[in-house]
Symmetry: C2
Amino acid sequence: MSAARTLAAYVGAFVDELAKNGLSHAVISPGSRSTPLALALEAHPKLRVWMHVDERSAGFFALGLAKATGKPAALLCTSGTAAANYFPAVVEAKLARVPLVVLTADRPHELRDVGAPQAIDQLGLYGTHVKWFSEMAIPEASEQLLRYVRTAAGRAIATASGGPMGPIHLNFPFREPLLLDLSSPDWYRQGERADAYVRVMEGNRGIGKREVERLAAACNGKRGLIVCGPQDDSDLPTAIAELADVTGFPVLADPLSGLRRPGQGEKILDSYDAFLRTSEAKTALVPEVVLRFGAMPVSKTLTQYLSTYSDVLQVVVDPYGGWRDPVLTAAEMVYADPVTLAQALTATVRARASKEWGHTWQRLDEMARAAMVREAERQELSEGRVISELVDLLPEHSLLFVGNSMPVRDLDSFLIRPQKLIRTMANRGANGIDGVISTALGASFSFERTALVIGDLSFYHDLNGLLAAKLHQLNLTIIVVNNDGGGIFSFLPQAEGSSSASFERLFGTPLGLDYEPAVRMYGGRFTRVKSWNDFREAVGGSLEDGGLHVVEVPTVRSVNVAMHRERWNHVSVDVEQYLQKEAPTWK
Amino acid sequence: MSAARTLAAYVGAFVDELAKNGLSHAVISPGSRSTPLALALEAHPKLRVWMHVDERSAGFFALGLAKATGKPAALLCTSGTAAANYFPAVVEAKLARVPLVVLTADRPHELRDVGAPQAIDQLGLYGTHVKWFSEMAIPEASEQLLRYVRTAAGRAIATASGGPMGPIHLNFPFREPLLLDLSSPDWYRQGERADAYVRVMEGNRGIGKREVERLAAACNGKRGLIVCGPQDDSDLPTAIAELADVTGFPVLADPLSGLRRPGQGEKILDSYDAFLRTSEAKTALVPEVVLRFGAMPVSKTLTQYLSTYSDVLQVVVDPYGGWRDPVLTAAEMVYADPVTLAQALTATVRARASKEWGHTWQRLDEMARAAMVREAERQELSEGRVISELVDLLPEHSLLFVGNSMPVRDLDSFLIRPQKLIRTMANRGANGIDGVISTALGASFSFERTALVIGDLSFYHDLNGLLAAKLHQLNLTIIVVNNDGGGIFSFLPQAEGSSSASFERLFGTPLGLDYEPAVRMYGGRFTRVKSWNDFREAVGGSLEDGGLHVVEVPTVRSVNVAMHRERWNHVSVDVEQYLQKEAPTWK
């Protein structure tokens, strides 16, 4: 067999097995050493290839594809610093539990650590931040090596998509010549089996009847709470709503939990971040048991509330044996499938919480929501209201992606009682401001319409990501909340504790950039709005048109802080008055 | 002591000790967890702080500062993916031997691996790509911890700047509150000594007299060559020129060796890349001994020539015990200071190579040079000639930074017999196309005038880097050779070995971007030139004005390949004719 046919058979078997195991997308950055895999991915009939020049953006783009589909996406780059550019996306994927198959081309052994060009130490490059690393063999087309490479491909997909999902890394040494002979029609079929080479099945973790009974007993008739943080299981919202009905427990539903949706029921609360700020509410609402699902919620107020009651039975449910408890208040860790567990508890719990318990939470939630909405409506171009305005404009089943720092907190405050089903997403693994545009673009492929709300620093950080919109004709409306700098820092003690010059220099970091020309460079349309009418027109129009649109909402950091504080003050006043009048009797 | 004063004393002692050990520059990206170090770096009277929002660009900017000054630069970012964004610059710094002090803020132990926001595993984050990693203690201001933190700072600088220079990483866990009390005038002077806390001295490696004599004997009267790759020791060019005089060995001088300079002497050759392509030259020029200094040269032709003569005594000199020999032809590795060694050999060698040996190399070099210049002069806006035009325009002592892929190869071909002293630089550690703008901007601070020659893909990759020019009013003239895609791939077998559609898609990767608006966004001036007259006017004007200027030279990939091949053909014809007429007699 010629070298070019050997190479084709080896990489062909590999990419074919990726496809047979359900991979559909590969994001490739140009390079020479990666030629064999690039040509094979491009030529395989079942794979779609996305080119992206900047590997950092490419990494996040693949992350977005995988987040939206729930299935692994592949990444391919050449040797050298190209691979190091994937690191931020890999870190995010590990913590956010998103399946990625990272393929890096490498020099063969004889060109390593001897000063050869573009040769860096790629073994274990991502350290503890991948679920699996393997250094692949030098390509051969023997029967054994075809078995090996098909097994490795199947295992890569299984490991990336097994719980908890996450990134894996395979490093491929290639010797020159790097060209493939793809002339034989079965170049990718060597050593194949009819279906996947190895079929991988993964069992669900359930827990025993006795344990369920014990947990149910701890809930019976108690002042309980259900907390549901960011999570992706589409069956969980219903299971939790049913559990809430049976237990009478209010559900504190994170904006990324999937629970904030049309007809969500009174027990599903969404404005707790506002009313739990008041010490009266925090003191009055003494729980006896807390059931926690999903990752840690966005709300810092909720975190502080939970850590206040560290001696209360707090149960953390995780299907995959993580330890998602930064407040360190968990008394029980339950490693079991959340839906199965919630259903089992629903079937077992026998006594509901007192009416007053649920009623108080619901009243406070309604009150906070009303005050927040009332205040937001009075204000022109405030940051938070962007979310509610956007939800009004987005068609059903759209994706609303939010950046970290302020936008995700605004989503928490203003994604309230939505009248349509909107999928929400954010990069909440490591909460970075990097790669957000690219992740949203990758995810946008799975939705008819996608909107991204992002701050100006985060927008600047991933400007390069916009290239994908141009190259691949994607539909994305980006709302840039532009307060010319790092708005979130104005909420921190640093804002008062350092001199205003060094605060502005180190934290405010105004960039003074007009993004319009950059957006145009990538073929997007840019609109700077001055009023909510402008906003509705620009966003509405963009959603009709499709393509890339950037709508800038200029705001002022100090005004924003003042608005938020004013809103919270109004909520406080209402909450305090209510609690004074109708003091709960359970204490 | 209040918590804020304790924290100030601890981080104050640390940054003070960095300064006392010679650190002058710190590049900071905004964040909350890093507040203590950010405020301390900003407030210390001897340190200059550079803000940069994108940590990837910040990393390369610090790399540039350190490359140009030869002294460590510090980096500081907050916890999370921010730190992962430094990875490409860290990898480059390790391989290019550039001193970097990477400081990352981290959550304290109780917030790690429990789902806390922006908490990732930062221990050993950069793996084998740093020289030293240390997890720092939780701040205290005890006498022992002040000794500890001063020692750590001194050791950080000593390790980064000890040979081979490179990056080190310190990870700082900080607990809230994060504010410092800087009201005491001696906040940074706790535990100080008059000078550095520990003075670190590093000896030079010399080799014994007997070994020098043995090496000199191997050179006496032999057909020898000196190869000098990229290196930064400003004393080495003179030492090598003297060694060349005594031995009669031609010197193949890489464009990044510092040897191509006014009055470089006939023995210092710069056009070998062109004439060593011809098999006649390769066959005729049989060496008996090769002395190699510096990193591996840029010229692939030279690499191939060296590997042809793998049975010849090839001696690789490295001051720091590396293994810079990708051709695997070294018979001797000499770990000794190159200047000391060259001077010792100069003093010991007793017989020169035959005149004919040196003469043949010089004639071929002149001939190749003449043909290259002649061909370049006939051509409008060819890629290579950019270098020679630029050298004409740049003032003495300017910096000429080149990107990887084509520009550094063009520098190799066209930085010939310069009539003025121009410092050359490139990122030749990992040869990445990433971070090039930022590295050049960081380096530009040490020069009156700096020009960067870069391809369009590499320019796109680090567009964010331009922000530093705006924020810090730096002077940089960027020449973007825009062939709309990856020009170097057209020289590879992939260009012929794959279908033209998939070649263009996977390797050509045309982006179709007009960079003018993006450059304007960063406050730069943009000029697209159509002729060499335009070029001279635009570049000349930019060097007078200062500030950020981007001059685009549009070229066509296929034309460029044809031009290069035509030039090489002309050289071949001349070389073959010469070697047929005047066949060397040493065979």
